[in-house]
Amino acid sequence: MSVNGETSSITGFDASDHQPAFIFTPSAIEGAPERPAKRRRVGRTSAPDPTKHAQAFRFERLLNGLEDTECVGLREELFKRHWAKTEERIQSILGESNEDTLTKVTSFVQDVAPTEGSGIVPTGFIVTGPNIASQGLLFEQLSERLKTEVNGPVVTLRSGDAANLKAALKQLIRDATNQRAVNEDEGEGFFERDGRKLLNYDLEILHGFVKLHGSKRAIVAFQDSEAFDPGLLGDLIALFSSWMNRIPFVLLFGIATSIDLFRERLPRAATKCLFGAQFDVEQTSSVFESVFLKVIAGSEAPLRLGPALVSSLIERQHNHVQSIQAFISALKYAYMCHFYANPLSVLSDNERDSKSLLKLLQSEHLEAIRMLPSFIKLVENSVEKHEVTLARGLLEDDKVLLREVEKALDSATQRVITILRTMHVLSSAATGPVEKIDLYVRAFKGSLSDSDTVRAVLDSIKRMAPDALIAFIGRITKAVENGSPELDLEGWLGEETEFLKEITDIQGEVTSLVEEAVETGKPVRSQYAIHSQGLRTTVIAQKVQLSYEKSTLSKQDIKYTALIDRMSNLLKEYFTFEHPQDLFLNEVWLYDSLSPYKEVFTPGSRLAIEQSLSAPYHYLPGCKDTGDAFSSSKPATAILYQMYLESGSLINVSDIWTAFFSIVGGEESEGYDERTALMLFYRGLADLKLLGMVKPSRKKVDHLAKSVWKGL
């Protein structure tokens, strides 16, 4: 008894396999003989219209189906509008990030002069880093750019297109010759030579094409060079090199690892034919940061992600993938979830004023607002402040609530911008480089004032000499004046009065102190600086030195120390602000829900299969958890899986059948007879085989090899 003879292969599996009969559904009206589809690619096949698909999908009515259709429409419209804007911003950043590389490569392609007769192919090596997903965009942009700026065919080859030499050449020639619309009078002359039709993998065709159009370059780009078979690549390069005297080839290789590693893999004969330049693409991490700052932290971002989600996104970037594309889709998903599932998201429409938004609200909306954690916080706060009437009003009177909502909506943007400004001031005040994403997470966690950066800044002030302090204050004022283009912040010199006045005050006083010091010839130092100097300079007579220094604190020094204390307190106060997630109605503009993201973007496919096989009662209604691993109430596959787990690496089919039958069959009334049991057994084993868990073993007759272990 073995499943060896079964001809079940995974490739042939589809949904109709479990149907009892095959149902024939004619695709077209009978009688109309359909033309067989053309085998070669005929232009662009009519792609399914995306708008048609989108129309089929509509947002659901929320609030138990009581939501107004206008609100539903508004949510959908908001999502589309906001996402379109965000995506546009992202695309422009991505485009800019590759701009440098594109320009360099284009000028290389234009300027490179092939050495006559040497057979050396000019080559550009584009080192992209191991982020394979972004190569596609880069090469798309590259081929667009090259097509417009260089006279000649541009072909991008991917490893999937090129299984062997013939296929690669076919693809190359087809793509190259399709790039110019063929004029009527020119005809497709290059497909023939002396009345002889050329084979479709003959580079003679390309030669004819190049001659006909007078192309200066024939650019062949290998998008994922590492994934190509090195032997194939070697053949191609040797072939190109041999044609160099007729076709002006220029090669471009997208390299994910490093040039040396790439060269080592190529055959020696091929590397001899290559010579060119290396181009480095901007690293993913820096692009990532600029995208992040623009679309999540930027002042114009319509929706902000909360700290938990952001740190989870960042961690995944670090641990698993490093690709902007994954991040963008996660971001889009967050937008979708927010506007799809949150009825209050209508309030985030920034094109209407809050009055007209409030008119939209139904009583259900208000009920929903009263469920919000931020509402609870608001009420608790007002109770703590002994404003009991307000608290009661919020809970009972819709008018009071609406007034409060309006207030919150009006102030929301300003509050967020305050946070962003603080971040910007902090990052420009810090002496070393700052992790801006980390700063964002901390700011939105409300723990910015405890962060290392703030502490480092405050510590550094204490040790500053007067000149350094003046420069420091200058930096802050400059940051306020100029704003931050990264975050879309404009300068806010006119708005910030108190803080700026204070620090310019300090600056003025310090300057006068310094002037005094220059006159007297004694340097001004703060108490803290002297203290640390004393510690540093003396090793033997530490105590004596310290007391000596302290006693000579001049008047200016004391004044200066007071100034520094003032500055430090001022900054500490400035960097402390309310926890954004305590703000009333932050749920409208802040999305911080982790579980939808985790479910969609980090699936545990294998884990799910193992889980469902070992505990089917979590999934199937008819199956009860009896505590017994070999309960006969489980499906046959689950029972077999349990046996599978407990067996060794080779499974005797006869033994497992006997064990299986002893559980499923039996004399009791509910047991199956042998034929049914055998059928169940076969089906279970076939399922396991389909899941790739067992395969027929060649080591022993009538044995199955176990190939998968649980929990890996």
Partner: protein, 493 residues
């Protein structure tokens, strides 16, 4: 009546000889065999290693001979008789032919354009069709000849021994073309002919031996090095030849002995070699001092590896030691955390024998974990076993491993890495996650893991598919340290 046998014009040969020095004998033999009133055989085999001038000489000679009649004016009396002689040739490069059929099509195409055939050419997908087509073409060509004039066609198959997808009968069939078609000489240019590879007796072979040192230096002296010495052209040439000799002795003698590679190495090293002279610190006349000053140039055999990227002036070819260390630093830093860990796991799976896995990776055995083979002492006294174990595992190269085993090792070392490196971070559940599978697939795409066996056998992520790691110890150690794992702790040997 013209003489039946006459050698080609000496002037032609002389110009050839000057452009291809040290190939005198080969040029003469080939000219005798190919010239129209020489001793034409049906087949000629030219053989010799790469870069010995086979193809270049054949091409140049044939071009000279086919334009011969106009040049024979120097040899006044024979002008009339030879005026009608007509030698044409076609060269088919096997390197440019993708399949056997492509070769046949190319042959027909080349011959058709050589004989000036104007009508259409039919498809040609088998050897017998080739014979018919060629026969038709030659018939058209020979029909309009005048009496007494000789006509000859030379068909050159360049590199025919490396033809891709060649049918097994290709070579013998091509050798017999001359039997069917009159006035045809086929020339086969091959690297190293097997005895009787044409299955045809009495084919003249001309050997192109590799150049000796003296010959190489003679040829090298024809090249002009690019930055000239200030002393003048004669001194430059002098130093260039002595420099060439030094390069041959130190670098090229053992590897890269063919003229092309030694020339490129010389040209690359030359600017750096004479840099001290140009700066004025050394004089060109003191060659041995110059040699000593540039000692490092001749010890660095990194230059023998053809570089594929232009040396930027700020970054000259790195020294071998820095080459070794700096090579992979980029990858280790750029890969995501779990990919790095997977790479380490793959290395361990490749270099540890499966039977020691229990010692290294099982939790129960953690206390007993030992370096150098662990506790599985093999029974002594069995000579076969000890002899076998003498070869270090590292020297045997990476072994194939099953994906499932690598995953198991990954989870074992992941805990360790967590303990050491990720003290602050929360532990993430990685078992059965799709992200890990994606990381494996990415590593396989980057060919840092190489799939063993047939390319299409089984899915990339099938638990049973086998892989081999494609990075070395130096890299893995660096990568492992970056994720907080000491790879030595887990290595069997």
């Amino acid at each position: 009546m013209a003489s039946l046998f006459s050698l080609p014009n000496e002037l032609v040969l002389n110009s050839l000889r000057s452009s291809f020095p040290c190939r005198d004998q080969q040029i003469r033999s080939l000219a005798t065999l190919l010239s129209i009133r020489g001793a034409p055989p049906r087949n000629i085999v030219l053989h010799g290693l790469e870069a010995t001038g086979k193809s270049a000489i054949t091409k140049a000679l044939l071009e000279a001979l086919s334009s011969g009649p106009t040049n024979t004016t120097a040899n006044g009396d024979s002008e009339e008789e030879h005026a009608e002689d007509n030698l044409r040739h076609a060269i088919v490069k096997s390197a440019e032919c993708i399949t056997g059929r492509h070769l046949l099509e190319q042959t027909v195409g080349a011959v058709a354009s050589a004989v000036g055939w104007r009508e259409g050419v039919r498809r040609c997908d088998s050897l017998s069709q080739l014979v018919v087509e060629l026969g038709r073409l030659f018939e058209g060509w020979t029909s309009d000849r005048t009496d007494g004039a000789k006509q000859r066609f030379v068909l050159v198959f360049d590199g025919i021994d490396n033809q891709r997808e060649a049918p097994p009968t290709l070579l013998p069939a091509l050798a017999r073309l001359g039997e069917v078609i009159p006035n045809l000489t086929s020339v086969f240019i091959v690297t190293a002919p097997r005895p009787n590879f044409l299955h045809f007796p009495g084919v003249p072979h001309i050997h192109f031996p590799p150049y000796t040192k003296a010959e190489i230096l003679q040829i090298l002296s024809l090249t002009d090095p690019s930055p000239k010495l200030p002393e003048g052209a004669k001194d430059t040439k002098d130093v260039w030849i002595r420099f060439g000799s030094a390069v041959w002795d130190s670098l090229a003698k053992h590897s890269g002995r063919d003229i092309l590679s030694i020339r490129s190495v010389c040209l690359r090293l030359w600017p750096r070699f004479i840099a001290p002279v140009l700066e004025g610190t050394h004089s060109a006349s003191q060659f041995s001092r110059l040699l000593l000053a540039n000692r490092s140039l001749f010890q660095n055999d990194g230059v023998l590896v053809p570089s594929i990227v232009a040396d930027t002036p700020t970054n000259p070819t790195p020294l071998p030691s820095s080459l070794q260390h700096g090579k992979y630093r980029g990858i280790g830093a750029q890969l995501p955390y779990y990919s790095r860990l997977l790479l380490v796991a793959a290395y361990l799976a490749s270099f540890n024998p499966p039977r020691t896995d229990q010692v290294h990776f099982m939790k129960a055995a953690a206390a007993k974990r030992r370096k150098k083979g662990g506790g599985t002492a093999l029974p002594k006294g069995r000579p076969g076993v000890t002899k076998h174990r003498k070869i270090s595992r590292k020297l045997l190269g990476p072994q194939a491993f099953v994906l499932e085993r690598m995953l198991a090792i990954f989870h074992a070392i992941e805990e360790d890495a967590d303990l050491r490196a990720k003290a602050g971070r929360g532990r993430e559940r990685t078992a059965g996650a799709a992200d890990i599978q994606m990381a494996i697939a990415t590593l396989a795409t980057l060919r840092l893991l190489v799939k063993v066996g047939a390319a299409n056998a089984g899915d990339t992520l099938d638990a049973g598919s086998k892989y081999r790691v494609a990075v070395g110890w130096e890299v893995v150690r660096g990568v492992a340290r970056s994720v907080g794992v000491e790879a030595e702790d887990y290595l069997a040997e």
